[in-house]
Symmetry: C2
Subunit: 194 residues, 2 copies
């Protein structure tokens, strides 16, 4: 009888502005990879067009804090006054269903996941920009932030780039189709059925 | 600061034909109860109009067996060659999100849940028909089965009715609106915020 393993946990991370979201969407479109996207929990207000349970799980601050206290989160972080995190039960459910679970998270979040999932089947992928200058161009192009906020973001990105050694794979995002295809190949090679 | 408890686990059970599904739908419509329906996993084929992840999680037999082996199921059972079960991670996720989770399951499934969730906040509700004759009428009215299958179902129902002592509440389904309202009141009284 065929023996089926539970799904992989795949992390796509990298500095702010490197293009994680775009690449993630392109990879998710490939149905042969049997991927499921892990929906994050957040305390931020729901925006027009967003769907609770699809874009995020929108919860109150009290609800979020209870989950921190009960150790229900695989990773979490706070940005501009809002908390964002990944429920262990969300990952567990999707892996139980045999899906390969895709997490698109910040560098700091990955650190927490790797600490908690030692020895587990975690496929960690770090996206890097062609250069720091190119990253700066991308951040400026899509930003409506103040110069000060942009400078902060850049300094953080530079620091985050140094964390790439913690990842199993480092992928250059020179072209999003090429990079997405490289990641698809990596995922395919890691989907092992015993 | 307000301290928030995780959601309740609510089981609605009772013999075949007693009207669990109808009552469940009526209760789910009450948004003030903050309910979420636990989606079951099954090996049966998806039917026209059904949505994977909404009606059921449709999985292969191998996937289901892996979950049995890994002890990922809160309860499961086999009917006419298909397996049906509840993932622990599904319940966990919904309770983490602060939802009161509604499980509509068979009597045998409840037994498994109550054994595994001792001391946990489980609200178990057993639906009973006005009489065995009335149950027989209902089963016959909606059945396309053979006389033999109906007799089997009735014998099983009679046996299941004897399990009502295991439940916290027994509710008479004489009228679905009345019964649904009674259950809503029970749930409301059990939603405790410390």
């Amino acid at each position: 009888m065929e023996n089926i393993k539970r799904g992989l946990l795949i992390i796509i991370s990298g500095p702010s502005g490197v293009g994680k979201g775009t690449i993630r969407k392109e990879i998710m479109d490939d149905e042969t990879l049997n991927l499921a996207y892990s929906v994050s929990m957040t305390t931020r207000k729901i925006r027009d067009g967003e769907i609770d349970g699809k874009d995020y799980y929108f919860v109150s601050n009290e609800e979020f804090d209870r989950n921190i206290k009960e150790d229900n989160l695989l990773e979490w972080a706070e940005f501009v006054g809002n908390k964002y995190g990944t429920l262990k039960s969300e990952i567990e459910r999707l892996r139980n269903l045999g899906k390969n679970v895709l997490l698109e998270i910040e560098v700091n979040g990955t650190k927490q996941v790797l600490q908690k999932c030692q020895g587990d089947d975690v496929l960690s992928i770090f996206l890097i920009p062609p250069s720091l200058e190119e990253l700066e161009n991308r951040i400026r192009a899509r930003s409506t932030e103040s110069e000060e906020a942009i400078q902060k973001r850049l300094a953080k990105a530079e620091k985050e780039l140094k964390m790439q050694g913690d990842y199993k794979y480092v992928v250059l995002n020179d072209d999003r189709h090429r990079a997405a295809n490289e990641i698809k190949t990596i995922i395919r090679q890691n989907i092992v059925k015993n």
